[in-house]
Amino acid sequence: MTEVSLSQVVKRYGQLEVVHAIDLEIRHSEFVVLVGPSGCGKSTTLRMIAGLEEISGGTIKIGDKVVNKLAPRDRNISMVFQNYALYPHMTVRDNLGFGLKIAKHPESEIQNRVEEAAEILGLGMLMDRLPAALSGGQRQRVAMGRAIVRNPDVFLFDEPLSNLDAKLRVQMRTEIKKLHKRVNNTIVYVTHDQVEAMTLADRIVIMRDGHIEQVGTPLEVFDHPVNTFVASFIGSPPMNQLEGKVVDGGKSGLQITLADNILIPVPKRSKNRVSVGQDITVGIRPDDLTPVGHGMKEDGETVSFDLTVSISEPLGTETILFSSIGAKEVQGKMLNPRPIELDERLTFNLAMDRVHLFDAASGQNVLGDANG
């Protein structure tokens, strides 16, 4: 059983603190993805787990062992680097077997395990080539092979796909997922690409400025972002965020006014969490803002209003519609699309049960209980 546990882990460079006392529990054989914009401390966190960066405070445990002071080689981890970090002067075979050779495993065992890893990753034909003679995808596979050959407790991936072109990235993503299913080790994976995070992770850890903003399964963080940052970071196209104010609508209860005189009711579940006069950021996923007759489901509570479509981006199964509410650009989605004319005016349905409300000042979600 190999859990990885970080408690109150701090990283400082001189006076500058880049990771602020983070806590994180990673379970055995879990695939955890650290995601966030560049400079958020995700790579630093990974490198601290690897032992490539010293920690300035707190405790890191791998399994039952506190590894704070252990050298990388004593942690039984392996790591895949963004630039692959293949040893340029060694053949693929030697690259794969290097770790085992250093650990002084018998020659025959090295050979067997290298062959096995090569087979898993389809490297058979490339074994005697130097890294310089490999394509990006092949190098990526060798880097992964080098990681699995040693059968470590924990795999660490540091943006392993960001040097690949888009098509290959999707393909390798699937391979990494397959690999995890097969070897079933604990994986910590760093990326800045939220799609990668969503597709790969058992749980996503969203980081910003050295803090952990939210930890949850992909659907949890998508459906219930704790604040505007997570809301805007997860999901593509990104969530629309509109400024509004809570008003007393008399008989219709609490309402929120948006620009262009659009009024939406405050959902029941957050009635007690907002007050009249409060500034609210309303979060609307493009999927929940759909032209009448072109939405996913229209049985829940909806609010309708007319918007002028300025740009449309057909993607085949759906079309992204660009419009604006007040000065703010909003994006909606049209399922079963039909051609859209320039500046066409459409009536949109807003699915109220999926609207997110955030306090404008703090950015925190005020929706209330996730299932509420």
Binding site: A71, R73, M79, Q82, Y87, P131, R150
Partner: protein, 281 residues
């Protein structure tokens, strides 16, 4: 202009340029194999009429000769001094270059700048102070004294060159090796060192040639066969009223050959070293 005439012209231009570059060296080597009378003949004899090994015999004191020069002692001194000082300069260069490339420490930039500035001082300007200090310490006319001077002369350069090579090796390679189970030292020795080999070889050959060819400081700090090097030995051919140009050229040939052989041996590394930017991990 047709491509053919262009090619011909470029060949001619190349030939002329190469001639200008190689002429002095060629002349020295040729003169080493010619009798003095022919070298000094007026009008000049451009095409050698007679090639002879007499000059070499004379230097080595074989057969009847007026001058016998302790070439073997000079040769031994040169070899010992050049190789030892190169080896030390390389070891210091590797350690220093690695430290500058990989570690952060106090006064790093100042130190590096200081090393570079030391290269701006012409060696000959230091000859008098060095001479006085060496004289006090009793290091005049010792191999050790000269080795120390050459190490000091070469170390800034080797550090600078090797630093550049280590800089070009992504630090993730060493990190990957560490994760793979290496100690810090193993990661250096098995991964980073082999990758910087061509740079180290370049630094080595430059340091060796500097020590091997250096004349000014060596002529000040050496006196006898204890420590005199080959370039200083050349002055043995200058007498009060005459200069034995033929003998001098023959000895110059002896000096050139080992350097030439060495350069050929490491040439592959030199070329790799100068085009390292093209190699990516």
């Amino acid at each position: 202009m047709s491509t053919q005439t262009k090619a011909i012209i470029s060949w001619i231009v190349t030939f002329i340029v190469m001639l200008i570059i190689t002429m002095p060296g060629l002349w020295v080597i040729l003169s080493g194999f010619r009798p003095l009378q022919e070298i000094l003949a007026k009008p000049a004899i451009w095409i050698p009429q007679r090639l002879t090994l007499d000059n070499f015999y004379a230097i080595f004191g074989i057969g009847e000769t007026q001058i016998a020069i302790p070439v073997l002692a000079y040769f031994r001194n040169s070899i010992i001094i050049a190789t030892t000082s190169t080896a030390i300069a390389i070891i210091v260069g590797i350690s220093g270059g690695y430290a500058f490339a990989r570690y952060r420490f106090k006064f790093k930039d100042t130190l590096f700048l200081g090393l570079m500035l030391s290269r701006t001082v012409p060696g000959i300007a230091l000859s008098l102070p060095v001479f006085i200090v060496w004289a006090r310490l009793g290091w005049i006319d010792t191999q050790f004294g000269l080795i120390l001077v050459y190490v000091a002369l070469n170390v800034p350069f080797t550090i600078w060159l090797i630093d550049g090579f280590f800089r070009q090796i992504p630090k993730e390679l060493a990190e990957a090796a560490e994760v793979d189970g290496c100690t810090r030292w193993q990661a250096f020795w098995k991964i980073e060192f082999p990758l910087a080999k061509s740079g180290i070889a370049s630094a080595g050959i430059f340091a060796f040639l500097t020590s091997w060819n250096e004349f000014a400081l060596a002529s000040n700090l050496t006196r006898s066969t204890n420590s005199k090097t080959l370039p200083v030995g050349l002055t043995d051919f200058i007498a009060q009223f005459t200069t034995d140009w033929a003998g001098m050229c023959a000895m110059a040939f002896i000096i050139i050959v080992p350097a030439l052989i060495l350069t050929f041996l490491v040439q592959k590394h030199l070329i790799a070293g100068l085009t390292f930017g093209g190699v990516k991990g």
